[in-house]
Symmetry: C2
Subunit: 581 residues, 2 copies
């Protein structure tokens, strides 16, 4: 973290006003790294699946009804306790965990309070007594327009709901074909209670999510077998955790699905892609596993959840993504609250016979009974659906029914039932969700890239695609004509890459500076360059250099950035002894 702040990756927000816990700024290198991580995610999750995964963007500010429907208003809470002396607020479960060294996730308010009283847990800052444990809503609250209860809105804590409420629009754009996924990358906000873990527990951060919709009776998940079936995942199962076992099992993805260890094939598929994506961020298989959450630890919407954990020095393990089998929960809730049609249609293999009730009314009878008032009756009837009419008729046994305030004799209605063969039926799709927090991934990338060489100098071994600055250019010594040539090459490379011009100090110092920033390649203009029109290209990781004509530099850098070892391109390789510097 010290390195990250010093090099300009990130620092706490609002520093000049004393700082604000749970908020981090990204500096120049931080923004470049973040954008590279986002692009890589897009590549793995969206672009490679562009036939059936599309990206949308929805607002952060969201009318309260959406999070009432989603269950967040009721369930997206933590238990808080306040120091009665200094009035600081704490997460009750975290206090209990810190004090007693137990896992307090999922305990009830009563259980937490009992533990606090029993063990006489007090304010960790001033030692004061603690208040009762109460629920604290983690949604940031605001008002759209003037202050008024009907204008209540929340800042979204996840991007997911914006995708659920747009299900029908995207379903139509996808020509009503399942399965498909909606992806979204954007800011979310969670009003965490006293967040203390720096950049990994933020009140505002960037999320990358997919809501993946499919027909549970026909998931069409062939891609799992085509692309992932032999991939092995490390999984720490809930049942093992309950038995006190914390060693993950290693299992083939296909097997995990067949043995119902992962309940949804699409959940398994995206876990497989998540594993590969996190590999590409620089984390090897043995530093990563999927932890299945216990029932009491799961969010209210989830039937099964796996958290993707990465081993890190600072916190032991860190959750970098969540994989939730949200089932039909969210769409069903929005259907209930909005009355909108968020169903999908499926063809049946065999037609189904259904019995349908048809209610008709005798127009002539109505005309003769109501006379000049008849058009009013027809108008009122026209507004009612068959379901509405059936409901009205079934509500009473009397001889007349009330239609829009008008008493209409039951005798004018004729009810008959017909049998119909149907070839399609509507249903609520199942949903699997992979969800990543970008800032945590940044932390992981920084920690896994961080190395120190034999002299104790920092070398940031970023995967090349993620390196914020791609190329350095420097003259061997800061003198003419080398400087002018180096500047010219720098100006050319800038058109293509984020490039740094290195100056000041010995060439060894310059290389060390480039290594510290994680620059994969440095071009050096040396004494031979003016005559020979070539330069050396140094590889950060092998420290090997190749001698390349200036006109080939971009070709070599492109090859290097896409993963080629630049010493294999046929240019003379120089064994330069940097330790002399």
């Amino acid at each position: 973290m010290d390195y990250a702040v010093k090099a300009g990756f990130m620092w706490q927000s609002f520093e000049i006003y004393g700082g604000q816990a749970g908020f981090y700024d990204l500096g120049p290198l931080g923004v470049l790294l973040k954008n590279n991580i986002i692009e890589l995610w897009r590549e793995y999750f969206v672009k490679q699946h562009q036939d059936f995964v599309v990206e949308i963007e929805t607002p952060i500010i969201t009318p309260a009804v959406v999070f009432r429907a989603s269950g967040h208003e009721e369930n997206f809470t933590d238990y808080a306790t306040e120091c009665l002396q200094c009035h600081r607020i704490f997460r009750a479960d975290h206090l209990v965990e810190e004090k007693l060294g137990i896992n307090a996730e999922g305990l009830s308010a009563e259980e937490l309070e009992e533990l606090i009283r029993k063990h006489n847990i007090r304010c960790p800052v001033c030692g004061g007594p603690l208040s009762n444990v109460h629920k604290f809503l983690l949604l940031f609250q605001t008002y759209i327009g003037p202050y008024s209860p009907s204008n209540l809105a929340y800042l979204r804590p996840e991007a997911a709901q914006g995708m659920f409420i747009n299900f029908k629009r995207v379903y139509d754009l996808m020509k009503r074909r399942l399965p498909f996924g909606i992806a979204q990358i954007g800011r979310v906000a969670r009003n965490e209670i006293s967040p203390r873990q720096g950049p990994v527990r933020l009140r505002e951060f960037t999320i990358m999510e997919i809501e993946f919709f499919y027909d549970d009776t026909n998931p069409q998940c062939d891609i799992l077998y085509e692309r992932c079936s032999d991939e092995r995942l490390n999984i720490l199962r809930a049942e093992d955790r309950e038995r006190g076992n914390d060693k993950p099992i290693q299992i083939r993805v296909a097997e995990a699905v067949e043995e119902k260890i992962i309940m949804s094939p699409w959940l398994a598929y995206w876990m497989c892609i998540a594993k590969r994506f996190v590999n590409a961020l620089g984390v090897p298989d043995d530093k990563m596993y999927f932890e299945e959450k216990l029932a009491k630890e799961r969010a209210h919407y989830s039937k099964q959840t796996f958290d993707q954990m990465v081993i890190v020095d600072k916190w032991g393990k860190l959750e970098v993504s969540g994989h939730a089998y949200r089932h039909t929960y969210d769409l069903e809730r929005h259907i209930m609250f909005s009355k909108a049609d968020l169903y999908a249609i499926r063809q049946l293999k065999e037609p189904k016979t259904v019995t349908k009730t048809i209610i008709e009314y005798d127009k002539n009878a109505i005309l003769s009974i109501f006379g000049s008032k008849a058009p009013q009756v027809f108008k009122a009837l026209a507004k009612l659906s068959q379901e509405d009419l059936a409901k009205i008729l079934s509500q009473t046994n009397s001889d007349t029914v009330t239609i829009n305030g008008i008493e209409v004799p039951r005798s004018v209605f004729r009810v008959r039932t017909v049998e119909e063969k149907i070839w399609v039926e509507r249903f609520v799709p199942h949903v699997s969700e992979p969800s990543f927090g970008v800032e945590r991934l940044m932390y992981v990338v920084l920690e896994y890239a961080y190395t120190e060489d034999e002299k104790g100098r920092v070398v940031m071994r970023f995967p090349r695609r993620l390196a914020p600055i791609k190329v350095g250019v420097t003259p061997l010594v800061d003198r003419e004509p080398l400087e002018s040539i180096a500047r010219r090459i720098y100006n050319e490379l800038k058109q293509h890459y984020y490039t740094i011009y290195l100056e000041g100090g010995s060439i060894g110092k310059k290389y060390a500076h480039a290594d510290e920033l994680g620059v994969p390649f440095v071009i050096t203009v040396d004494y031979d360059t003016p005559q020979r029109n070539d330069v050396t290209v140094r590889d950060r990781d092998t420290k090997k250099q190749v001698r390349v004509p200036i006109s080939d530099v971009i070709k070599v850098i492109d090859a290097g950035l896409s993963g080629t070892d630049i010493t294999t391109l046929g240019y003379p390789v120089i064994e330069y002894r940097e330790d002399k510097e």
Copy 2:
């Protein structure tokens, strides 16, 4: 807009809950277009200036003190009036403008109220009487942590403040060299009163801003003369507007600076880049001008503002960017509110002689007067700066002064003045700001790309870099073996571009569909393909086709996307008569 909704670029948010004015969702094509616009902006404003412009990212949720310091809490308001009958809220100036057809921007509450009473303006919805005109704060309000006045926060209405409060961090990262710019791209929120203009007046949108810091006495704006000096801008000056003239003058950028029409050279430079950027979005020079705001129309922080206007069908003209000369206002306010050092340092050409007052105290005298209490006095004195001491001594004429509650005889102090030569001085940098709203640019790109061909079919002539989908692939007829070959090419191209597979209907219908989505190139697999291993590549704009070996397709598409006319690449050109279809 009908097209934009139908094709899946954008639609109103929260539709299933009745929609919410001022919020728009971006659909699949909308996200691709938006990201392409953002990347192009990054190219023009950041990447091409990467030596001295860096991008950072700061939170949306911001403690209230930041917007108190920035003046927004006091000034970022509109005048509202409420219907006393239906309780709808309206912008008072908009009501007056609509009713009276005058420009009401910048009128005071009293002036607006007088006009409403005089002309008996009533609620445009229900005809009810209107309330008094009052100020309405346009900042969305929330609380970080539990509800409490000290936790008050706002959602940022501009990204700028995140850059100002980070001035010192970035100044240090830039090795304390001016000029430099801090860029930021991110969401902002403005609690607009009853917004009605669809996607161009949004309550939440994406902003792209640069705060550019420079030394006013030495702006070092050579780049203006190197890159822009002959560029001509259309400028509608405030003084002309005041005289009722609404015809912009055309003037060379350098001249506009020399004649002080644009007060800051860096403001002028970024206006020139803004012009070129909006050209690249598809807007020609004669459809664009910069409108200088009148003093009463300017934001509270600005010494001079130009709005970049684009002529559009729907609203006549549309502001797509603002260029504000924010001067030293923001940094000075943050220095005042935070007491932080947000100064830059400049070397003086000639040393300056400054007179400095030095206040010393006689330690022995203090020891003998205070005895065992002396350490307490020393401690209190050590905490005071020279300025503090000077202030205390000057506040009274009595024989003793009070230092931290202790009465200390004036006689122990000795005040002397010295002359010092200084070679550096600190100063507050000047700031010029270009600021763009992405969603408005999307609207402009859509309107300028929209054309209808001779048959009335929509052809979206997106600049190639902006086209959401880059390539289409289709078999001439949906039959084997053409389909398999087309699928294979599609699967290959997907690795490189957002690509669409076109199926169903005649080839003419497929081309028309691709044109409607603005796809620049369509690859067709025809009857000759199986033998000859080549395909046709069709250009959306010229409708010309070239016959290209399958192995060259990516090379041709790359050339085409970077602006080359594909008929000039040496492949056979086919004059295909689409009107036969």
